[in-house]
Symmetry: C2
Subunit: 353 residues, 2 copies
């Protein structure tokens, strides 16, 4: 375990840029005093903010660049003007060169994914990256992937997602054999997308030393925490994530208007305020901010673009944990073992049938 | 508008059968005294329950059958033993023969869909049915479809969903031109599934006299009520629905445990109880129970299999509204108009490109 965790920061990413990323990094540093940052961004914008956060400044090295990736550019555009020199690229490049153990960015997801693939390259045996995130559940937390790195998935990719997600669960949740479910509509084996059924059949038939495949799960199983890992293709995964966020916001809004309806309910709210605060913390999407890009030769954390400093700090925290518990190495090891021994031959047979 | 709304009831469907469907029908009758029921089911089970609900008994005709579709049979199995004689088939057949205006069942979704297609047949120009439901939003309610009738959708099917969903919105929400969004990951035109992008391009280029296509929407737009109608393919739609239900239950559970943490928060809860009751009503999935099968020559309502009497009554209510406001005829008219004039030629061009 390294003494110092070195984190490369794309200070310019996100809807707000340095006014969020710099205070956010400072918050994370407050919790983890063994972090050092390499901060990539515009000196004119970042410098004064660092001056205002002396604790962070003391643990950071600022690398100036005046190229920043815009939030709504296509990946191809971003690569064209941002390769070699944007704050996003340079943060990834610090990971590539081994100067930092992880890169964190709140920037344009498509551009970050494209640059990550281009610069860091994929792990042997993985063709497509995935975005994994921690999802708060009634049992604690689960890992859900893919949340939108790629659209559509064949059985092979779904199995790779199961292997990567379970490696992440072993590391983060300290479990010997995490449980894995495939997201489907209906739990019967005859239901759902052809690719999902095929992946399910292969996983069921395989000897899986590193995780426990429990079968199909449905959308409402995510919040229940039915399995430690939930595997899905990126289109459905992204829609599930956004729908859950929307539902949580909707209910919070209902709750606010319900409480403000009468002075009695307002008084009740005052008395129950600690309970509401606990609820708010549980529901706060900032606490689970931070998607982990999996499948790359290096760790990259994507913060929500609209995150505030607290949310951005949560994304930095996740990057910190990934390094602390040596996730990257463990994923590579798991993939090598699982692909050598158990799943690969069956997967090949299944795909050809 | 008919004086009497005649509803065919599959009394045996659902996880619980007659002990839920009969009291549920009675609740619906209490709200709508102009309903008459034809009840299909096992005399030995249904008879005593009807005796216990004299109001319902007075407005019902019981047709005995001892064949009931099991909840976990495959559609093909269900058709084999249940065609011509099961309570589900007979309820649909009553719609086919014009004896009832709508059929309501809490039975096996796949079997109900298969029998509906087999018996009622599809509307001219529609190849695949859809399940639409009312989704509570911050602005009121939206219609979301397809929630799992078919998996995968090409651009043509998505456009048919937009036409059918908007017809339903015009009728139920009394709107001249409902707004329609296509569910996608990201709102930019370059993002998402090929079929969704193609459908978006066609809708954008079409003259649409009956609805207002606003573009792509994301999962969190559903709860916001960004559009009156949200169109998606059945796999993603089902996952969105189940994930939202799971999130709502999860938050309700958080709220319960937060409140029971201390006597002060319990007291606060007591004071704010009317507010919580209002919230509970808003969040109660029973109030929006009832999926409408669209695209068939006849109206079929699917209740959640696990519904209680209150939930089943909500499904009957939806069937009632569909008949009261003449939805079926209006969908057929809309489809004929839209397909004759505006979208068909462009859709054909788009599909060929």
């Amino acid at each position: 375990m390294p003494d110092i965790i070195r984190i490369a920061l794309d200070a310019m990413g996100g809807d707000h840029g340095p006014p969020v990323t710099i205070p956010g990094a400072d918050l994370a540093l407050q919790r983890h005093t063994d972090i050092e940052f390499i901060i990539f961004g515009d000196q004119a914008q970042v410098g004064p903010l660092l001056d205002a956060h002396p604790r962070l400044k003391a643990k950071s090295r600022l690398v100036h660049t005046d190229v920043a990736i815009r939030m709504d550019d296509k990946p191809s555009q971003a690569l064209r003007y941002g390769r070699w020199k944007s704050s996003m690229w340079l943060a990834l490049d610090a990971v590539k060169k081994g100067e930092a153990a992880v890169a964190v960015s709140a920037g344009n997801t498509g551009a970050l994914m494209a640059m990550s693939r281009f610069n860091l390259k994929m792990i042997e045996g993985i063709e497509r990256p995935a975005i994994a995130a921690l999802w708060p559940t009634l049992r604690g937390e689960s890992i859900v992937l893919d949340l939108g790195a790629s659209i559509g998935a064949d059985a092979r990719h779904l199995i790779n997602l199961a292997v990567m997600g379970s490696a992440m669960a072993r590391v983060l949740f300290d479990l010997e054999r995490p449980t894995v479910g495939l997201l489907n509509i209906g739990v019967e084996e005859v239901k759902g997308l052809e690719e999902v059924r095929e992946a399910g059949a292969i996983l069921r038939a395989s000897r899986l030393p590193h995780f426990d495949y429990v079968g199909f799960v449905e959308g409402d199983d995510i919040g229940k925490g039915t399995t430690d890992v939930i595997v899905t293709e990126g289109f459905a995964g992204n829609i599930a994530l956004k729908t859950a966020e929307g539902t949580a916001r909707q209910i919070a809004q209902y709750l606010r208007s319900a409480i403000s309806r009468s002075w009695m309910s307002k008084l009740g709210y005052l008395l129950a305020r600690p309970a509401f605060q606990a609820l708010r913390d549980k529901m706060d999407p900032r606490n689970s901010n931070g998607g982990v890009f999996l499948g790359l030769k290096g760790i990259v954390i994507k913060s929500h673009g609209g995150a505030d400093p607290e949310g951005f700090a949560a994304a930095v925290d996740i990057g910190y944990d990934m390094v602390r518990y040596d996730l990257q190495e463990k994923i590579v090891q798991s993939l090598a073992r699982d692909q050598d021994t158990d799943i690969q031959p069956l997967a090949a047979g299944g795909a050809g049938s």
